[in-house]
């Protein structure tokens, strides 16, 4: 049977069985089927024990079933037609009446069709005998059910036609067991060899051929010895019939279903042939009993062997799939950008993909246990060890970001991540970890952060530029006081008597004013300074007071009263002092601008700070100005969007980016009466600095 034929074999509804016009391929199938059937019948006759009407092993039915299984459903009709001449030819030779010939064709075809149909419906794809299910379906439907049903028909025909007088049940029984044996031993052999035989033979190694030869020789020798060499009679040792069993198991284990079915066939053929020659352990009673015991023996050996081979094959298939999957994952791991490593339950690293060694120059021995830590940046080392130890103790996920020293003394940033693989009893079996190189991401993040910080700083300085006049005034106040105090002191000292007490007071005031001027400069410098953004716990109310002091002069210039309502006992905030000051400053100055056109008596800004939730502090800046039109409430946070005559439109945009980087929120809303309120939140600073 050609492979092409098999591949076409799929599930097709029985209604599709029809007589399609014979083409080249179907002709071939019919011809092959015919030939096989004929040959099978010849063998069947040859293996018929003397004085028996029914053959011990009747191969044609099994051959027909195998052929059906190997051909597409729609060609079954052609196949059956093709087989008919062979059937007729065979039966005519043995002088069977014409009516009986056709009756037998009917019963034989029905057997093959029942078996083939059931198997095809239930298995779907080609029958490979490589799973318990395949074997089960085959045995139940093709081996047992089909002969069981068709034997009723067959026996009925025999009785009706009155061919070779025989009792109905005897015919049924003989035919049933004979067909069961034939289906069991022939179908797997034919189906498996027809489908894959050529490929196996082509692919098999020399070693495999040698093993197969050894097996074949051993099996043949033993079979011939056991079934043919032994003389007939009570002197035979019944236990000897089990001698071929080791070879059969060998075949099943090493050569799968095909090997098992082939070996089985060898044993069957040899044993039956021996019996027909009147030799072997099964020739001891009346012929029908001999045949039956031989058949039962062979069925009993075949059944478990077929299942065993199927199970072994199934397991082999799963193992192969598992190996393939493992190999796939391994390939993925090796090919991926990630480094993958393994550690035992105690956290001692036992394996890492080559990427680690290539990067760090460490050897496999170097990384063992905690050796890998040597390649970690000294600043990250202790933390990494602690995190790793915590994960091991807690059996939880390990996650860390660390710098790893490369062999050319640079450093790369990695995100390390490991999970424990738990055994059935809940203990850690091992750890599987992966390191992802995030250097580029870190670099991009850091550049972005620097740019954002720089932008924020520039915006701050530009805001301070707007405040220049007010700041000069703010600085001028203490200078004025100092000068006037100093000159007053000169006068008091020049007086006679000198008023030293007054001079002491003056000096005290001068020191105080000097401090005050220093503070103004300090605040200015802090806002203008280029400094790393540092998140710390800080006093939000203090920050607000600072900024309000900073714009004190500007508020006067704008004629604005600034009211503060800062709740007592606020927890510290978590953030960068200068950046948060910038946000408050921007919101305050915006509020001043918003009230430019209001009557002086109504210019009032209320700054509030409160605890909005357990995690968030909320600051609001409420003005009594013109408010923000509803469709601009979000737009004002976009870059270069401004409602002011002068202004770049970056202030609020930068403020929002600052607040976002604090994991807070900045938004605006109109007040019910008049003006707008800007809110922002910052997280509460927990723990210690």
């Amino acid at each position: 049977m050609e492979h092409a034929v098999l591949r076409q074999g799929g599930v097709e509804p029985i209604s599709k069985i029809r007589l399609s016009l014979p083409d080249k391929q179907t002709n071939l199938i019919a011809l092959l089927g015919c030939a096989a059937y004929y040959a099978g019948a010849a063998i069947g006759f040859a293996l018929t024990l003397p004085t028996d009407a029914v053959s011990t092993l009747w191969p044609p039915n099994a051959i027909l079933l195998a052929c059906l299984l190997l051909t597409p459903t729609r060609q079954w009709g052609v196949l059956l037609l093709g087989v008919l001449p062979a059937h007729v030819a065979v039966q005519l030779q043995s002088g069977v009446p014409t009516l009986m010939i056709f009756c037998w064709f009917l019963s034989n075809s029905s057997e093959a069709l029942i078996g083939a149909y059931c198997v095809r419906r239930l298995i779907g794809g080609p029958l490979r005998f490589d799973s318990f299910r395949d074997a089960g379906v085959f045995v139940i439907f093709a081996v047992l059910l089909a002969p069981f049903v068709s034997s009723f028909i067959d026996a009925a025909f025999v009785v009706l036609v009155e061919w070779k007088a025989g009792a109905y049940w005897q015919v049924w029984r003989t035919r049933f067991t004979g067909n069961v044996l034939a289906e069991l031993t022939l179908v797997p052999f034919i189906v498996l060899w027809a489908a894959n035989g050529v490929a196996w033979l082509r692919r098999a190694s020399l070693r495999r051929y040698a093993e197969a030869c050894l097996l074949a020789c051993g099996l043949l020798t033993i079979s011939v010895l056991v079934f043919s060499w032994q003389s007939t009679g009570p002197g035979t040792a019944p236990a000897l019939v089990y001698l071929p069993l080791p070879f059969l198991l060998w075949a099943a284990v090493r050569f799968g279903p095909a090997g098992a079915s082939t070996s089985l066939l060898v044993v069957v053929l040899v044993s039956i042939w021996a019996a027909t020659q009147g030799r072997g352990p099964f020739i001891s009673r009346s012929p029908p009993e001999n045949v039956l015991s031989l058949q039962i023996f062979l069925i009993a050996v075949s059944l478990p062997l077929i299942f065993l081979a199927a199970l072994i094959e199934e397991r082999r298939g799963r193992e192969a799939a598992l190996r393939a999957s493992e190999a796939r994952y391994r390939a993925l791991v090796m090919a991926g950008a990630e480094m993958v490593w393994r550690a035992d339950a105690r956290g001692e690293v036992s394996f890492a993909t080559d990427a680690w060694q290539e990067l760090t120059g460490q050897t496999d021995e170097d990384i063992q246990d905690f050796g890998w830590l040597a390649a970690v940046h000294p600043d990250d080392r202790e933390r990494s060890r602690q995190l790793w130890e915590q994960a091991i103790i807690g059996k939880g996920m390990y996650e860390n970001e660390l710098r790893v020293r490369t062999r050319n003394s640079g450093y790369r940033y990695f995100h390390a991540h490991a999970v424990p693989i738990l055994a059935a009893d809940g203990t850690v079996h091992e750890w599987i970890g992966a390191n992802t190189d995030i250097t580029d991401r870190k670099k991009a993040e850091s550049e972005l952060r620097q740019q954002r910080e720089e932008l924020a700083r520039i915006s701050r300085i530009s805001t301070m530029g707007e405040l220049a006049a007010s700041l000069a005034h703010e600085l001028n106040q203490p200078l004025t006081a100092i000068l006037s105090n100093a000159q007053a002191a000169q006068r008091f000292l020049a007086a006679k008597p000198a008023d030293l007490e007054e001079v002491l007071d003056i000096l005290k005031d001068i020191v105080q004013d000097n401090t005050r001027a220093g503070e103004v400069i300090h605040r200015m410098r802090a806002l203008a300074k280029k400094e790393e953004v540092a998140f710390v716990r800080l006093d939000l109310a203090g920050i607000i007071r600072d900024v309000v002091a900073f714009v004190h002069s500007d508020a006067i210039l704008h004629g604005v009263r600034v009211l503060l309502k800062l709740n007592d006992g606020l927890p510290p905030a978590w953030g960068d002092k200068v950046q948060l000051q910038q946000v408050v400053l921007n919101l305050l100055l915006n509020a001043f601008d918003a009230m430019e056109d209001c009557p002086a008596s109504e210019r009032e800004v209320l700054v509030q700070a409160k605890l909005a939730s357990a995690e968030m502090l909320e600051v609001s800046v409420r003005d009594r100005g013109v408010g923000v039109s509803t469709n601009e409430l979000e737009k004002i946070f976009q870059p270069f969007y401004t409602t002011k005559r002068e202004g770049m439109g970056m202030g609020l945009c930068i403020c929002r980016s600052i607040v976002n980087s604090h994991r807070g929120r900045l938004w605006a809303d109109n007040n019910p009466d008049r003006g707008a309120t800007f809110y922002f939140t910052v997280p509460v600073g927990k723990g210690v600095d």
Binding site: A472, N476, T480, A481, L483, R491, I506
Partner: protein, 228 residues
């Protein structure tokens, strides 16, 4: 009070007494406590009496109608009522307090407004003692003059009020330079009666000559300028 308080070799501050025989007050309004304290000291060191206020409102609420001469040292930029606002309010209530503005940089538009509104002086912060004290002296002197003039005016006013309506008519005609005869004719009476009235006017107005009467009468707007 110290005579000739010498501060530096060439910086001689005159005793305010030498400017005026009245005691005078320097009012200071500045919202900044330390500036206020410092300026108070400086002004006091020159022998002036100082009264300081932290806001324009406070000054308006508490400052009495002072009898003596005074001047006001005023910060321009203050929360609530600004220096300019205070100046405007004072003018509205016809206060004639001379005002010295002190201001920070960048308050040019405000300064211009202040000068236009008749500020005596305008000093940038930080203020030099000599500048401030000289300005105060000038302001006080002006206040003294103003005060004297106003006192005289009030005095004349009081004298005019003592005149009978007829005497006022006569005085008006006298200062216009009419002769008794002409006056008698104007008022439909005899010259003799006018003479009596005239003598009474001279006495009540406490003047010795016609020229003096004319000067005094002019101060209280007699005769009205449009009739001249």
């Amino acid at each position: 009070m110290r005579e000739e308080t010498r501060v530096t070799k060439d910086n001689v501050i005159r005793n305010p007494r030498s400017t005026s025989s009245h005691t005078h007050t320097v009012f200071l309004v500045d919202d900044d406590a330390s500036v206020r304290r410092a300026l108070t000291r400086l002004i006091k060191s020159a022998g002036h009496q100082v009264q300081a206020f932290s806001s324009a409102r406070e000054f308006l609420d508490t400052v009495p109608q002072t009898a003596g001469p005074a001047c006001l040292v005023l910060d321009i930029r203050m929360p609530g009522l600004s220096g300019i606002d205070l100046q405007r309010q004072l003018q509205a209530t016809s206060h004639t307090l001379p005002i010295i503005f002190i201001t920070g940089h960048g308050d040019i538009p405000m300064s211009v407004k202040a000068i236009k509104a008749g500020a005596v002086d305008f000093l940038p912060k930080p203020v030099k003692d000599t500048d401030l004290l000289r300005a105060i002296e000038q302001a006080v002197a002006r206040s003294v003059d103003d005060r004297a003039e106003r006192d005289e005016l009030e005095d004349i006013q009081r004298r005019v009020e003592k005149l009978t309506p007829r005497e006022r008519e006569v005085m008006a005609l006298v200062v216009r330079g009419l002769l008794n005869k002409q006056i008698a004719f104007e008022l439909g009476t005899v010259e003799k009666t006018i003479k009596v009235h005239r003598a009474r006017v001279m006495k009540k107005m406490q003047v010795g000559s016609l020229a003096e009467l004319v000067r005094v009468a002019e101060k209280v707007g007699i005769p009205p300028k449009n009739e001249q």
